[in-house]
Structure formats: C-alpha cells, structure tokens
Amino acid sequence: MSEMVEIRWHGRGGQGTVTAAKVFADACLSGGRYVQAFPEYGPERSGAPLRAYNRVSSRELRMHCPVLKPNIVAVADATLLDAINVADGTPDDAAFIVNTVKDPKEIREKIQARPTQKVFTVDATRIAIDCFGRPMPNSPLVGVLAKVSGLISLEQILEDVKKSFGKKFSQKIIDGNLEAARRGYEEVREG
C-alpha cells in the first residue's frame, strides 16, 4: 500500500453513502493505520447529490480538508454521471467504482477515463434488493472497495459490517448486508 489512499464517494442523500465511508474507515483501523471519514455537509435532503471522503494512511493524518485528488472514486448512483464530473482531480492511476448495470467499458467511455485509470462496475442496487429487499447500494460497494483498494480483506470488512449494523438492525438485515458485501466483492467487473 502506498503511504496514503484517498477516496471520494459520490452518492445521493438516503443511499447510505456516508455510512459506507464510516464502515470502511472503521474496518481500515486494523494494522495500526490512521483513518478519516467525513461527508461534505450541506442541506441534508433525500436524493440530493452528496460527497463523502476517506483517507487511510500508515502515517498520522493531520490534514483536515476535502480530498481533492482521489486515488479511488466510488459512485453510488450512476445518474450522477450526467450531473457532475466524477473524474475531477483524479490522478493517472486512479480507480473508479460505479454502481450500474452497465458494462465497465461503457462507463469508461462515459466518464472519459484515461487509459491508465481503472474502471470497475457492479450492480450494487440489484445485489442489495436481492439480499435485503431495499435499494441501498452501500454494503455491496464497501465489499467492492475492499477488493479494489486492497487495503483490507473480505473477512475484515464483513466483520466490520457486522459490528456497525449490529447496533441498529435485526439479524435478518445484518445477514442481508453481509451477503451483499460479499457479493459486491465477488461480482465486481473491471474493464
């Protein structure tokens, strides 16, 4: 792992994007790493575009500012691709994760990713509906992020989803989210 990995999430209010960033940060704590997870707070309306950020580093994180050059961009809602430039500020080796039914090649074209940048897609909404009956793409995306970032194992992320959701939800919902994270990890496609 390079010294610091910066992640930018694009989602819409109510999709659990902020929760996803928090769960991912918590899971990355293992191994003595430093983490940050923070959303960009605006008027909190369901359906409005929002951004959230993660930093994961082997060194102490002192900066307190938005991520401007993300190594990984995770898009929880593909309709945002028409509204905002998700590639803003990305370096040449950045990776994109997009929740969509579409093929990674099609998304690559749409966001005009550079040849050196990686593009991953996953039908996270479908997975979520299959696993726990609600269109909340966050758990599958956390699974995908574990794989794409290489920062943590599938087991670590499942352990953390269990811990984070265990405080609030029934066993059925927890199991559904665990299955969703596992399927995200396995079903992500690169292109």
């Binding site: 983490v35 997870a37 707070y41 994180l61 307190h64």
Partner: protein
C-alpha cells in the same frame, strides 16, 4: 504509572467528547440542542438513559436556561458540564459572566460554529472569540484526540482549588465534530482517578453552613473583585502545565500552553488555531524539504492568553503570518492576530507581521492556502516588505 491503557477507535469529535463526559460522569448537566454540538448531548443523554452515566439531566427550554441551570447546580455543590455552539453560546452570554464571576467550575464543550446572520451551521471561530473575555478559561483543540484530552483535563484545571473557574473546550464544527478519525480512548478507571472526586467550595446545599451567592457589590468593592479575578487568571497557566504533566502519565501524550512545530530554528512562522493547524503542518514539512525554515505555533490555552511565553517563542522570527478563522469588524485585525501582536510589542526587535482571514462559515482551508502564506512569508523575510497587512483568503472578491 506511565502505563497506556488506551483503546484505538475511529470516532467523530462529538462522539469523543460525549465519551469523555461519560467517563467523567458529572453530577448535573443541562443543555439545549444546536448544530453542530447537538450530537454530544444526544450521545451523552443516551449514556445517562442506559445507566452508563449517573448524571442528572435537567430539561431546559433555551441555552440561557441551560447555563442558568448549570450555575445553580454548580453553586449547589455539583460537578457540572454542558455544550453548545454559536447562537447558543451567544444566548448564554450574560450567564457566562455570572458563572465566572461566581467562580463556578462549569465545563462547556464549545463546537465552534459561525455566528448568524446569515444563518450558517459550519465551523468558524466567531462564537468562541466573542466569549474570549468573559472570565472563562478557553482550551482550543486541533482534532478529536485533543478535544477528548482537553475535555478530561479541563475538569482538573477548572476545579483546581487555586482557580475554581469555568472552562470551555473548543473544537471546529463539522470539520472535527462530524468527521471520523482514529484516536485513543483512555481506560474508564484511568479517567476516573485522574479527574478525582469533586471537591465542593461553599456549596449552597450545605444547610449547616449557609452562604450567600450573587451579592450586590457597587463602587465600594467591585474593582477589587475584578482585580482578584485577574489575579486568579494569572495562576491558570501553571495549573494547566501541572495537569498536563499528570495527564501525560496516563496517556503518553504531551500538552503545553501552546504547541510549537519546527519553530525553534525557524526564520518564518505561521500562527493558527484548531483543525487548520494540522493541514498547515503538512505544508510546513513540504517547505522544510525545500530548505525553507518555517515553523508553526498553535495556541491551546487561549484564555488566559500566555502572552510572555508566546512572545518568547516567536520573537526570534523574521516574519509571522497569523491566520484567523474569525474577523473583527472594528476595522481592525483578526482576534488571534491582535493577541499575537500584543505578545511581541514589548520587544524592540520584532518580527514583521501579517494577518489573513480564512475559512469563515466553514469555507475550506486547503493546503494551497497554507502554501501561499508560507511562500509569501519567505518573500517578506527576504525583502523586509509586506504588501498587505490584512487580507481575506479563499474568497471571491
């Protein structure tokens, strides 16, 4: 001693402060919700409801009442804490003076937020700066760890028998209060024994020894009373340092009156409060790699301000840039700048100084802002010329 019994967690600043309050377990708390401080009391009252803290919560209808209830409970002989932000602190204003003038060691977590109008919920320092001269102790915090650590230390400082003064612990709204960061919690027992049993002084509820609070003191003794308050304030810094020494034993973390970063051999320096100091330290490192001798000073004990010590730490510099996250609308400089200037005025030879106002209403403070300030300072040190004494940065003109 010297053992570290901590637990590594990833939490928000608000969560960390609520945890500190649970561990200290005050006797009484009264608070009124206001963004971004609400979550502190939301979490803390959940601890109380679940039996994890024995604190008596008093339901109130405003921040004015919250502070009034805290004053009553503190005078009655209890250990008392509350929290607020911005307009909430403003509504406490007259009570803040009553708490300090009555020498009640109330602890207030202030989640810094911009003052309205226009209505804005985000972090800047205009609330804390407005209350800087109300006789309270102020400790400012860079991140969640410092907010938690300051919160725990503040009880020992405020309740010290030489002081008995209220204290507020400040952290940046949203940037720290709502961001998750890695930090370390101390063991419950370690916090409990560090803070110790609350000692009462002339409690109202000691009916065997009746006392009067809130006397009328007119021209006969008011000035002596105020002079005595100033005398007490002068003892704060030594207590802060003593408490920090003890805290290091249980935490391994060092605290002083202020933090210096690569300042001893520096030629130019940045002075900045709270979360933006972290972003600036990274910029300091980047310029040090290029051979530019830059350092940083971050005040911690902001009231009473340790003028002599700060002046001593800064006087060798060629040029200083003070960054303020609050403005002063008197046609003057930002509040931090004015204090820093005051630390240096006794010296014949002193650094050139400039002031930049940044981040009002939560406007992002970016690495480039720190880098530009350092680059400008290097030029000022070389030429001896300052272009603009006070400037607003990161703003559309």
């Amino acid at each position: 001693m010297g053992q570290k019994s901590g637990k590594i967690v990833a939490v928000t600043g608000n969560e960390a402060v609520a945890e500190a309050l649970r561990q200290v377990n005050p006797d009484v708390s009264a608070a009124y919700p206001i963004t971004p401080a609400t979550e502190i009391m939301q979490r803390f009252t959940a601890f109380v409801s679940n039996g994890k803290a024995k604190t008596e919560m008093i339901l109130v209808e405003s921040e004015h009442s919250a502070m009034s209830a805290c004053i009553g409970a503190s005078a009655a002989g209890g250990r008392v804490a509350t929290s607020t932000s911005a307009q909430g602190l403003a509504l406490m204003w007259e009570e803040l003076f009553i708490a300090s003038g009555t020498r009640l060691p109330i602890i207030l977590a202030l989640v810094n937020r911009a003052m309205s109008a226009p209505l804005n919920i985000h972090g800047d320092h205009s609330d804390g700066m407005g209350a800087r001269d109300c006789g309270w102790i102020q400790l400012w915090s860079e991140n969640a760890q410092e907010a938690y650590d300051n919160m725990i230390q503040s009880f020992r400082i405020a309740e010290h028998m030489d002081l008995r003064l209220p204290a507020m612990v400040c952290m940046d709204g949203f940037i720290i209060s709502h961001s998750i960061e890695r930090m370390e919690y101390l063991d419950d027992e370690a916090v409990k024994s560090f803070v110790g049993e609350f000692k009462t002084v002339n409690p109202l509820l000691d009916i065997e020894h009746p006392v009067s609070y809130g006397p009328l003191i007119l021209t006969d003794y008011y000035m002596e009373y105020r002079r005595a308050h100033a005398e007490v304030m002068s003892k704060v810094k030594n207590v802060v340092l003593d408490v920090a020494k003890d805290f290091e034993k249980i935490s391994g973390r060092q605290y002083g009156l202020f933090e210096t970063y690569r300042l001893d051999d520096a030629e130019i320096g940045i002075v900045i409060l709270n979360s933006a100091a972290g972003t600036t330290k990274d910029a300091v490192d980047a310029f040090r790699e290029k051979g530019i001798k830059v350092g940083l000073l971050k005040p911690r004990l902001f009231r009473p301000f340790p003028y002599e010590e700060v002046g001593e730490a800064l006087k060798h510099l060629k040029a200083i840039c003070v960054l303020d996250r609050a403005d002063a609308f008197g046609g003057s400089y930002g509040p931090l700048f004015m204090d820093i200037a005051a630390t240096l005025f006794p010296y014949k030879e002193k650094p050139l100084m400039m002031n930049k106002i940044y981040g009002l209403g939560g406007r992002d403070y970016l690495p480039e802002h720190a880098e530009n300030a350092i680059a400008e300072l290097a030029e000022v040190a070389k030429t001896g010329q300052i272009k603009t004494f006070k400037e607003y940065i990161g703003v559309r003109e």
